[in-house]
Symmetry: C2
């Protein structure tokens, strides 16, 4: 395949890219095209120095006093505000804590308790399975019923029994963007609360939580936020719910007077009431440091770059690779797409492995999806062309038929 | 006060100390007497190099592939087994995950579900408040009643209604060791399950979970296990309960087939069923690395050293400092004491601050307790004498009357 023209276009797009300088904020080796930032974000270049400081000076030298002197204690809210800026939340409404699953559990119980007497949770049949598992568990604990409804059918599924409507902003397989504004408005018309999982949208898509009157949200710190493997997650609760919210994981750091060692729980004011136990500070401070990669950057600029990258990729796949049985699963309309492009292929797993052997790292999702994330902070249009070239080389040479590429690993 | 004789005795004890070499495994600056290892353990000397490797090579260079190539995926069970050795659990029964509060929530719900029809949880009125808050929350969710009973009165409080008996192995204020074997046996006689919080005993006291037929346990990674600030916690479930246990935080990493992306939760076999979300790997791997400080060390040797340190301290306080209104709150019988000595003093907060100014770091607990932890891996008998000398100097000079020492910080 001749991609000369594409490479020239890419060079021009990169030359005009207003956020191209952000690439220097990350360390990625030459030659690698990393299309898995939607699974584990790349490492910010300044992270090793910051972590050495945290480990050697804050922990090693200053020890327990660092809870005060290095402001460890307030990190969950401070880092939460950094996330808040990226998802359209005014300060004081986001706290970083626990994992996405744990935060979803807290948020969902809190939401259901804000709508006593209502007995139904509406969610997506194809939502991220982790979310479905937690929703089912909460339903069992609280005696609720779960209705699994595709996003487009939500309005018709709403009635006076619905307490919470819980969806993912971006479909983890197809990359399709849900209608956050529309579903939230419909949810409110039915008197229910809207809870969104932003794991695949925060940092690459405008979210505007406050503007759309979203009630609660959760999301992951290690994808497009680049917080490191298993970085803590975050939870948003709109300020209007802070006084009344009651979450079930009543840990000591969410107490109104955590050091008074009182025998009864009393929720801390504000979003701190969503905290639970002592946060894993090494991971927490890595996330904080990573979020400074967004300093001076507006989400709109990142989103424009993301759409430009994914649109170029879709166009090149359509134009050059359709003969190989690849099908673009993601919406072709860039406005309905997150920052990923998913391709269907009968040997999707082996295609992903063969691409990795050619230093293009994406991931595989059951049963037949090649999932490629385009992190706009550190990818260029030239990277997109390289990915297409290598994908063409894999398919032309039949490298995905190599039995070595069919061996499954635990995690891809 | 003349501590010449005490210093000579300490030198002799240190010279004969079979675990004195472990001090070299930690980095603590000269002059500091760190008596807060029960709140945040000291930093192992090899930690900075290991964390640099994790950050730069595992995350930065190898990226998503590290879940396989660096065995990130299996770390929760692997690190769990390292903890297991210290608490008397055969491999496969401990998993590292989340915070102590979250693990207690999971363990308590799982335990209650193993005793359907029983409606009471028995716990301690003076238990660590974080535990009380979680127990109360679980009781509300499951419709249970909580009986708060001092440890000595547990046998009399047991009846057919009791589902779970949940206590701390060491009282966080007084350092008193609970009768784990006796309370567990009494609990079983009533047909209930025993759940222990080992936060202040693991790594310094024999626990023997398997030998005493304990059902479930949780504990903290950042105290005597030295895992770093907010290190992940751990949960133990005896193998006999693995098949039947059902915990409520049904995250994807605890699924039987986490990458099959199935729409319904099916618990993973074994202790992995207690996992929830993606673990914070930087903090997880720091804990793993720190646990290697126990390599080649038996808990009995650590316990003997711990008792020798605390006994010397109690003896010197009794002998030299009782005139200052200090009262030893901890049991004088070393076999009934964890690895801490708590002193009561009317100006306890200011005494702790004045001690910190003299480079003896302990902590304060409401309302009048100076709490001093003696981590046997990195403290010497000479350190004990130094601590007594400086405490004497503070009290003699009245340094705790300095108004600067009365200012409360958020965390001490």
């Amino acid at each position: 395949v001749d991609l000369t023209a594409a490479r020239e276009r890419a060079a021009a797009l990169d030359a005009a890219d207003p956020v191209a300088h952000l690439r220097a904020r990350f360390r990625l080796r030459d030659g690698l095209v990393y299309l898995d930032g939607n699974s584990l974000g790349a490492m910010p270049a300044h992270l090793p120095a910051r972590m050495a400081e945290v480990v050697e000076q804050e922990w090693g030298r200053d020890l327990i006093g660092s809870w005060n002197t290095h402001d460890w204690w307030t990190a969950p809210e401070r880092v939460g505000d950094l996330v808040g800026r990226l998802v359209g939340a005014e300060p004081g409404q986001v706290v970083v804590a626990d994992s996405t699953s744990v935060d979803l559990f807290k948020a969902l119980v809190a939401a259901a308790r804000l709508r006593p007497g209502r007995t139904v949770v509406v969610t997506e049949p194809g939502s991220f399975p982790a979310d479905l598992y937690v929703i089912d568990s909460v339903a069992e604990l609280l005696g609720l019923t779960v209705r699994r409804v595709p996003p487009a059918e939500v309005p018709a599924a709403l009635d006076d029994d619905v307490a919470v409507v819980s969806y993912s902003h971006v479909d983890y397989r197809t990359g399709e963007l849900a209608d956050l504004a529309g579903i939230t408005a419909a949810t409110h018309s039915a008197g229910a609360l809207a809870l969104w999982d932003l794991s695949h949208s925060a940092g690459v898509v405008r979210v505007d939580l406050d503007a759309h009157d979203v009630d609660l949200a959760v999301g992951c710190g290690y994808k497009y936020l680049n917080g490191g493997p298993g970085a803590p997650a975050y939870v948003y609760v709109a300020r209007r719910h802070h006084d009344a919210m009651r979450q079930p994981l009543t840990g000591w750091t969410g107490h109104a007077r955590p050091f008074a060692m009182e025998g009864r729980y009393e929720k801390a004011p504000g979003i701190a009431g969503m905290r639970t136990g002592t946060p894993p500070m090494l991971s927490m401070l890595a996330l904080e440091s990573a979020l400074h990669c967004f300093d001076g950057v507006e989400v709109d600029a990142v989103r424009a770059k993301s759409q430009s990258l994914t649109s170029l990729f879709v166009e090149l796949v359509d134009g050059h690779l359709s003969a190989y049985g690849l099908e673009v699963v993601s919406p072709r309309d860039a406005d309905r797409r997150g920052s990923q492009v998913s391709l269907r292929h009968p040997q999707a797993y082996a295609v992903v492995q063969a691409l990795i052997a050619r230093d293009v790292v994406g991931d595989y999702r059951e049963p037949d999806v090649v999932r490629l994330g385009f992190a706009p902070l550190y990818l260029s249009h030239a990277d997109v062309v390289t990915a297409v070239e290598r994908l063409d080389a894999v398919l032309t040479a039949g490298e995905h038929h190599d039995p070595a590429h069919a061996v499954r690993h635990a995690v891809t």
